[in-house]
């Protein structure tokens, strides 16, 4: 033990003299192993760790697959009566719950916060065995059709909106005109299954009866809604496939009855899907997590190769010290132990940094990737993380120690001393060094280029033209806080009054009674009256000011008028993409499209296409292949409760200010949401911004690692040549001679590396041509040049930097074999 401690003390003393080496190993291994621990923990959580619910292996989600006449999937969402029918049938499931997700304003709260709501049947929390902080979960007396207004709060809502008030139970909250009695608060550690959207946290739980679906939707088998979900514990004797066979005819038969009189659905059917809750929650995240792990493992391998090079250089540097140790009786085993002491210290320091970085990584994921990856809130430094950390430390410490001692020619060590350290000591052949340099350059070139490409793509998407402006535009959506919804006629004068007040605000430049394009469109079935062709474009209501406000050009025909809206004229404006779908020449003015009612809509105008980030870009290059997103606009109703406000430059309006304004007109109205278009745009670009930031960081990291790797191997090469350098200096070589010589000597290997990167790309192209083909345009040429310049600069730096300590000192320092 004492010997072990002494060895580690000596190793530490030796390392202290090489802060640059220690820092490089620490940063390289610390950062990459931190990322590895992060990725391993995430993969374990997503792929291996069971969901925190009892009987989670029997927990399934039933989905309503809408299939078109050509057997194509039209959507994966329930109709309201279809969901209720399935729930009431009690088929295949031992216990089941249904849910309707929404957003609502707690109007009784002082700040009238907008909260995520879930309207549920009582079985949900029973199935999940949800832990409670206060009170109880919903009971049979609050089941479907009981209309008993009670509420449960999430822990965070209780803390943030109600300051953790311990007397919260039996207090009441008002949502959409209904007063709910709070009966329970979920525990802090309750984990909600993310079925509707990754990262969405329900803040207030309410009974299913009170969901926001209108009477029409509750009866209609023609309306599907993504907000409706079904979850249940499958019967023990029923398998997943049996459940599908059992449920499909049950639901389809009822649906067919429901849509029998709607010709649009002729030939359509319902195919039920039954999937494990875990699979639904994971979605595409499983492949993202695995790709992340694969990427990080790649980084660790590069880092490992780089650090191996540094250890080779370090061993070369320590040759004389080891020769002395060998001369006084150290065996190969002793030398290995001494080296292991060094690598253990370095790996221990690295893993401590790695754990800090992993912890920070969890925080970053929870803050920024909560909407991309499920269950990230459960990420923490757990026994798996620590176990991996210990394993990684031991494996890498042994690996680097073994690698370093394998380089030592034990017999040659003695002759090293005999020749006073002059002119001998070559451990790795020149050819091996050249192969290492070439492979480093090839790998670095491929990785830097690939990262540049990803970065360029993400930046291009972020900067892609939208086809409309978002500057100074905000969207205001109103919330009606009463159960007795006003009729269309009743709401028109109220909305007119609200608009008058809004226009009178000094901050407001102009106003439109329609939502921003970023607030979304909805799919609508339309039939061309002329030929009965069916279309499903994205539809949106717009008033006469909409296109001017967002600066979306009207290419042909007319805009909506106030008269169109007042008289309820069935007029429609379509975009170029939809016009081309309807008629190849795009000349569709006057064409009539039916929405199913007796009076079809007449197309009066054509507007330019727009791009909604995350959906499509505008790329109409005039080619026949171009198919943009078909969009149609109808005149918005005068009673519409969504507005766009264009504010004067530098001005702002608060939610509270708008709330007061609404109350002055009609106290039943509150602000549902008020968001700037720029904020919505940033949210929609989140994944592209994340990609850009991630690739920029990765590009930087790869570049750093490539630099370290090249430096390591070139430094090692220079180290081995120090006596040769000394000899050349002794016979008159200047700094320039030596720098030129080292660059020339390495140029061949670098060139081979560049050729190797081309070969790697060619191999990648053969294997993944469909993914790579779109990238192969002349636009990649500047990136290729930039990559080559960067790698060349790194190589030049790596050639010069290790050399400088020899050429900037008198020749005797190189010849003596010590500094």
């Amino acid at each position: 033990m004492r010997i072990l401690i002494r060895q580690h003390k000596q190793a530490w003393a030796s390392l202290k003299k090489k802060p640059g080496f220690v820092l490089t190993v620490l940063m390289t291994m610390g950062i990459t192993l931190g990322a590895l621990l992060c990725a391993i923990t995430l993969n374990y959580l997503l792929l291996v760790e069971p969901l925190p619910y009892p009987d989670q292996d029997r927990l399934f989600v039933a989905e309503h697959g809408v299939t078109g006449a050509k057997k194509e999937t039209k959507g994966l969402a329930f109709t309201y009566p279809g969901l209720v029918h399935l729930y009431k049938s009690k088929a295949a499931f031992e216990q089941a719950a249904i849910m309707s997700y929404g957003e609502d304003v707690i109007v009784s709260h002082n700040s009238q916060p907008l909260v995520n709501t879930a309207y549920i049947t009582p079985e949900l929390h029973q199935i999940l065995a949800s832990p409670l902080a206060l009170g109880r979960m919903f009971e049979a007396s609050e089941a479907m059709d009981t209309h008993n207004p009670v509420a449960m709060l999430s822990y965070n809502t209780w803390q943030q909106e109600f300051n953790g008030n311990v007397d919260i139970l039996e207090q009441k909250i008002n949502i959409r005109g209904v007063s709910y009695r709070i009966v329970g608060v979920l525990a802090e550690h309750f984990i909600e299954p993310e079925l509707e959207e990754i990262g969405r946290e329900t803040q207030v739980w309410l009974p299913f009866d009170f969901n926001s679906a209108g009477e029409g939707q509750r009866q209609s088998f023609g309306n599907i809604s993504g907000n409706l979900k079904f979850i249940g514990l499958l019967n023990k004797e029923v398998s997943q496939s049996q459940a599908v066979q059992l449920l499909t005819p049950l639901v389809n038969d009822r649906w067919q009855e429901g849509v029998a009189e709607i010709s649009f659905f002729k030939g359509w059917s319902i195919d039920m899907r039954v999937r494990p809750v875990k699979e639904v929650m994971l979605g595409q995240s499983e492949s993202i997590a695995i790709m992340l792990l694969a990427g990080v493992v790649g980084l660790v391998l590069i880092a490992c190769a780089n650090i191996s090079n540094l250890f080779m250089a370090r061993t070369a540097e320590k040759q004389r010290q080891m020769a002395i140790q060998a001369a006084i009786g150290a065996t190969k085993k002793h030398l290995f132990k001494a080296m292991l002491a060094e690598t253990s210290i370095l790996m221990f320091m690295s893993i401590i940094l790695a754990l800090v970085i992993a912890k920070s990584g969890f925080y970053i994921m929870q803050q920024y990737l909560g909407a991309v990856l499920p269950r990230v809130n459960e990420l923490s430094l757990n026994p798996i993380t620590f176990g991996c950390a210990v394993l990684v430390t031991v494996v890498f410490a042994l690996f680097f120690a073994k690698l370093s001692t394998r380089m030592i020619n034990y017999r040659a060590l003695n002759t090293t001393l005999q020749s006073s350290g002059k002119g001998s000591g070559l451990q790795v052949s020149k050819k091996t060094r050249q192969v290492l340099i070439a492979s480093q350059v090839a790998l670095a070139t491929v990785l830097v280029f690939a990262n540049f490409s990803l970065l360029k793509d993400a930046v291009k998407t972020i900067n892609a033209p939208l086809g409309f402006t978002t500057t100074n535009i905000s969207t205001l959506r109103l919330n009606f806080s009463s159960t007795d919804s006003p009729s269309q006629e009743e709401s028109i004068p109220i909305m007119a009054g609200i608009m008058e007040k809004l226009e009178a605000l000094p901050q407001v430049e102009s106003l439109s009674q329609s939502g921003s394009p970023l607030d979304g469109f909805y799919l609508r079935a339309l039939t061309n009256v002329a030929n009965n062709e069916r279309y499903t474009p994205f539809l949106k209501g717009a008033d006469q000011r909409y296109f001017n406000m967002i600066e979306q050009p009207l290419l042909q025909g007319d805009n909506f008028t106030r008269v169109d809206r007042q008289d309820g004229n069935n007029v429609m404006i379509v975009n170029q993409a939809f016009a081309k779908q309807l008629k190849a020449d795009g000349d569709v003015l006057g064409l009539q499209l039916s929405m199913g009612g007796p009076d079809p809509h007449k197309i009066i105008g054509i507007v330019k296409d727009i791009a909604i980030p995350g959906e499509t870009a505008i790329e109409d290059d005039g080619s026949a292949e171009y198919t943009g997103v078909p969009r149609a606009y109808v005149a918005s109703r005068l009673g519409a409760q969504t507005f766009m406000l264009k504010l004067k430059s530098g001005q702002s309006v608060s939610r509270e200010q708008l709330g007061k304004l609404l109350a002055e007109v009609d106290s039943r109205y509150a602000v549902f949401s008020f968001n700037s278009a720029d904020d919505i745009l940033t949210q929609r670009l989140f994944s592209e911004i994340t990609t850009a930031v991630t690739t920029a960081v990765l590009a930087g990291l790869v570049f750093l690692l490539a630099g370290i790797g090249l430096y390591g191997i070139l430094s090692y090469g220079t180290q081995l040549r120090r006596f040769e350098l000394g000899a050349r200096m002794a016979i008159g070589a200047t700094k320039q001679h030596l720098v030129t010589m080292i660059i020339n000597d390495n140029a061949k290997s670098v060139l081979v590396g560049f050729i190797g990167s081309v070969v790697l790309f060619a191999l990648a192209y053969i294997g993944l041509s469909e993914y790579i083909q779109p990238f192969l345009t002349w636009q990649v040429l500047p990136m290729i040049v930039a990559t080559l310049i960067l790698i060349t600069l790194v190589t030049l730096f790596a050639c010069y930097w290790p050399l400088r300590k020899y050429i900037n000192k008198p020749a005797i320092f190189s010849l003596r074999g010590s500094d």
């Binding site: 020749s419 006073s420 002059k422 002119g423 020149k430 006596f723 040769e724 000394g726 000899a727 050349r728 200096m729 002794a730 016979i731 008159g732 070589a733 200047t734 700094k735 320039q736 001679h737 050429i807 900037n808 000192k809 008198p810 020749a811 005797i812 010849l815």
Partner: protein, 234 residues
Amino acid sequence: MTDIKIEMKNIGKVFETDDVETHALKDVDIVIRAGEYVSISGPSGCGKSTLLSLLGLLDESTSGSYVIEGHDVSHLSLDEAAHIRNEKIGFVFQSFNLIDEISVFDNVALPLQYKKEIPTDEFIKERVEACLKMVEMSHRADHKPNQLSGGQQQRIAIARALVADPAILLVDEPTGNLDSQSGDTVMAVLAELNKNGTTICMVTHDARYADMAKIQLKLLDGQIVNDEALKVAV
């Protein structure tokens, strides 16, 4: 006094570590004239190698002045020192310091490639062959150094030192890594060169070889203890 090749006055060299100052050389005065054969000898640690490093501009002195063929070389930059070494000094090391990866011919030609004006290929060929002939190694021109014996490698090192026609040949323990037969051969080569007019300054701890020099300097604790060279100069 144009035949004075080297003149050192009051040369001192101090090595400083964290808290220790070591005076390797103290007030050393040396004059070496054209055609002289000078040996520097003394016990281990007396400063022989340090003195030779200073003579060869491989290291910088802490004090004193140093003149080679009338040029003051006391305070030169590293590149200026490299040029002077290339033009005026030929170095022969104890461990040869040949470059294993290039041929004997290329090793010998190396100093010519570091000249300010690189000579023509014909000149290089002629000069290298002449030097190899002087050390009787012409037949090994295409070999790699590691294919030769120690004595042969040292003769190649001498040829390399001579190729740029230096003012003086500085030789550091030329027989230190050789058996006695090879050592005798190398010493014979050096004696022959001196006989033909080459100025030589050699460090050795072998009294037998030191005696072969016409002028023998003895160093003790960093100081010259006989002043034969100085006397000759005066």
